[in-house]
């Protein structure tokens, strides 16, 4: 592997990892606030790309407006998911909640396939298809958008949690819901809010990555899995570690895929599962939780 190639893999991995980071933070916020792993998390990414495609295809709005409308629309889907499917079953056993969010996941897939598109759809790059070269790696403008917007989102997410009253309320719910309620925090609203935030993060990722990779109804599952593993690496609470895990995964996938490209997905996912099993085994024994 030449140094040019290495630089390319690192950069592509970083771009891909930025997307995983957004998905992983989505898992983290819903899991810590509600105790629920949202198996439809990856579908938010797919929805972001699909909504943008749909709006661009039917209107002539500028990309910034499309971006904003899509994020708001997907956030609403997240809110609806929480209100209609999660809230009525909040006290159900884990297996029931898993099945509910799986149901939501395929419901969303079915709706998109039926009413938007079953095929892989493209959207144009935000600012043209320009590219330049750094250390032998080809850098497209769009990949800078991906990394830049992801960075802004992650920092915004971090500041929201650590510097605002709402963030404090969310964190309070994640530590102890009942005590938080006693302090006058509306835990149900925080649960809805956590789904809104996670949907928005997923949508942002889905829109920025869409010009680089076609969006298809089926992409949600495997993207969700990768985000989940990154979230598990950071124990669902440690934001810097989650982001580092996501970027690491992105790069690892590129390096692994470079040597055995045909089995790229299988190898990447296999590696992820090993991480998951080691890390989750540790998490479970450490916290005694599921």
């Amino acid at each position: 592997m030449s140094s040019d190639q290495l630089a390319q893999y690192l950069f592509t991995g970083l771009t891909q990892g930025s997307l995983y980071a957004l998905i992983a933070l989505g898992f983290a916020i819903t899991y810590t606030v509600t105790g629920i792993i949202n198996f439809a998390q990856g579908e938010f990414v797919m929805l972001g790309g699909m909504f943008s495609y749909y709006i661009l295809d039917n209107t002539s709005l500028p990309i910034a407006a499309v971006f904003l409308i899509s994020v708001i629309a997907v956030s609403l889907v997240g809110v609806l998911l929480e209100l209609l499917a999660i809230r009525p079953a909040r006290n159900s056993p884990v297996v029931s909640l898993i099945i509910i969010t799986i149901g939501a996941s395929i419901l969303i897939r079915g709706m998109v396939g039926e009413y938007i598109s079953k095929d892989a759809v493209p959207i144009p790059s935000f600012t043209g298809d320009g590219k330049f070269s750094v250390l032998g790696a080809v850098v497209t403008y769009q990949s800078l958008w991906v990394i830049g917007i992801a960075l802004v989102s992650v920092v915004g997410f971090y500041l929201l949690l650590s510097r605002t009253m709402i963030g404090k309320a969310l964190r309070a719910c994640s530590i102890n819901k009942r005590t938080a309620s006693l302090m006058g925090i509306n835990a149900s609203n925080m649960s809805t809010l956590s789904f809104l935030i996670s949907a928005a993060l997923g949508a942002i990722g889905g829109i920025v990555i869409a010009p680089l990779a076609f969006t298809q109804v089926t992409i949600g599952v495997s993207l969700g899995l990768r985000g989940f593993v990154a979230a598990a690496i950071g124990g669902f609470t440690n934001i810097p570690l989650i982001v580092a895990g996501a970027l690491g995964l992105g790069i690892l996938e590129q390096l692994g895929g470079a040597t055995l490209s045909a089995y790229k997905d299988a190898i990447a996912l296999g590696a992820l599962l090993v991480v998951l099993i080691i890390r989750a085994g540790w998490l479970q024994t450490a916290t005694g939780s599921e």
Partner: protein, 327 residues
């Protein structure tokens, strides 16, 4: 009261069994072939019910074992000329070994982690079906899988295959019924109730989980073998993530802890597929809605849920009658 109900149950089962035995004589080839598929899906769902309903575990990648059985049978018979009757047990044993070695690490996980782990496992094995194309034929598949026959008797019509698959399905039901009503079955339900308590009374929790996982994988493998010898062809597409989820839908409709319901769940999903699957994605939408609504309102599954509603209605009516007569 309970005795009366019991007799009714036997009558219903006898009627259904008689209907199943007589159905192919109607000469309706379309429904006979659909019933063959329902029998095969039932085998898969029975295994999944043992794992999910009775043991309280979850598998979102069960299509992988179905596919493993299918591909091992197809490859050994179509490419290397093995007898299907040799291929089938070899496939089942290999799938059992794979399930065992996957089960060892993966059943260290619980709940959400286990669900994610099995989901990943399913995707990985599906990728392998596609990528190991020198064996599996890749995405375009592998034709020329021979049919089944015993001596000179070939199971070469839907009519004959029907009895074969429903016979196998009945055997699996009987095996499962006996497991559920044995010491092991009680251990499984104990694990469902509380793992810590089960461990405390001396049940080897992880060993039981892996055993059920392996058993359900063996059922799935046999179903896969029967499927490819029926179609005479195999490709990766029937074993993807969506099919794993469809299996969960079947189990949820039938009632998770209800092996008899598994057959109804399989039937319902096949019928929905037949009537909606051809018009785009309506079937997927319906499956999603079923999963969400049933889990919110009837966490034991659709058919037991309807049974519960009936019981509630009957007790309410009985109370109302008592109130009337006491006046």
């Amino acid at each position: 009261m309970a005795g009366k109900l019991f007799k009714w149950q036997y009558l219903i089962i006898a009627l259904i069994a008689a209907g199943l035995i007589l159905l192919p004589f109607s000469g309706d080839i379309y429904y006979t072939s659909i019933m063959v598929i329902i029998a095969i899906y039932s085998m898969l769902t029975i295994g999944l019910c043992l794992l999910m309903g009775y043991t309280g575990q979850i598998s979102l990648g069960h299509a992988a074992f179905y596919g493993t059985g299918a591909f091992i049978s197809a490859i050994t018979t179509a490419k290397y000329g093995w007898s299907p009757w040799l291929a089938m047990p070899v496939a089942a044993i290999s799938t059992a070994a794979i399930a065992y070695f996957i089960g060892l690490p993966i059943f260290r996980l619980r709940g959400n982690y286990l669900a994610m782990g099995t989901l990943g496992m399913g995707i990985i094995i599906w990728v392998l079906f596609n990528e190991l194309d020198q064996f599996t034929g890749g995405p375009s598949g592998l034709p020329g899988v021979p049919g089944l026959s015993i001596g000179g008797f070939a199971f070469d019509t839907d009519f004959r295959y029907y009895y074969l698959v429903w016979g196998v399905c009945a055997v699996m039901l009987i095996i499962s019924y006996n497991i559920i009503h044995s010491r092991s079955g009680r251990a499984l339900r104990a694990i469902h109730g509380s793992e810590a308590a089960s461990e405390a009374v001396g049940i080897n929790v992880s060993q039981f989980k892996i055993q059920v996982f392996v058993l359900s994988a063996v059922f799935a493998s046999i179903a896969g073998s029967l499927y490819v010898h029926y179609l005479a062809y195999v490709s990766p597409s029937p074993f993807d993530f969506m099919f794993s989820i469809k299996l969960v839908v079947m189990a949820v409709i039938g009632g998770l802890a209800n092996i008899w319901g598994a057959v109804f769940g399989a039937g319902a999903v096949v019928m929905i597929d037949q009537h909606l699957g051809t018009f785009g994605e309506l079937d997927t939408i319906l499956f999603g809605l079923i999963l969400i609504l049933v889990m919110i309102f009837m966490s034991h599954g659709l058919i037991p849920g309807i049974g519960d509603l009936y019981e509630k209605w009957r007790t309410r009516r009985a109370k109302a009658q008592d109130a009337l007569s006491s006046k």
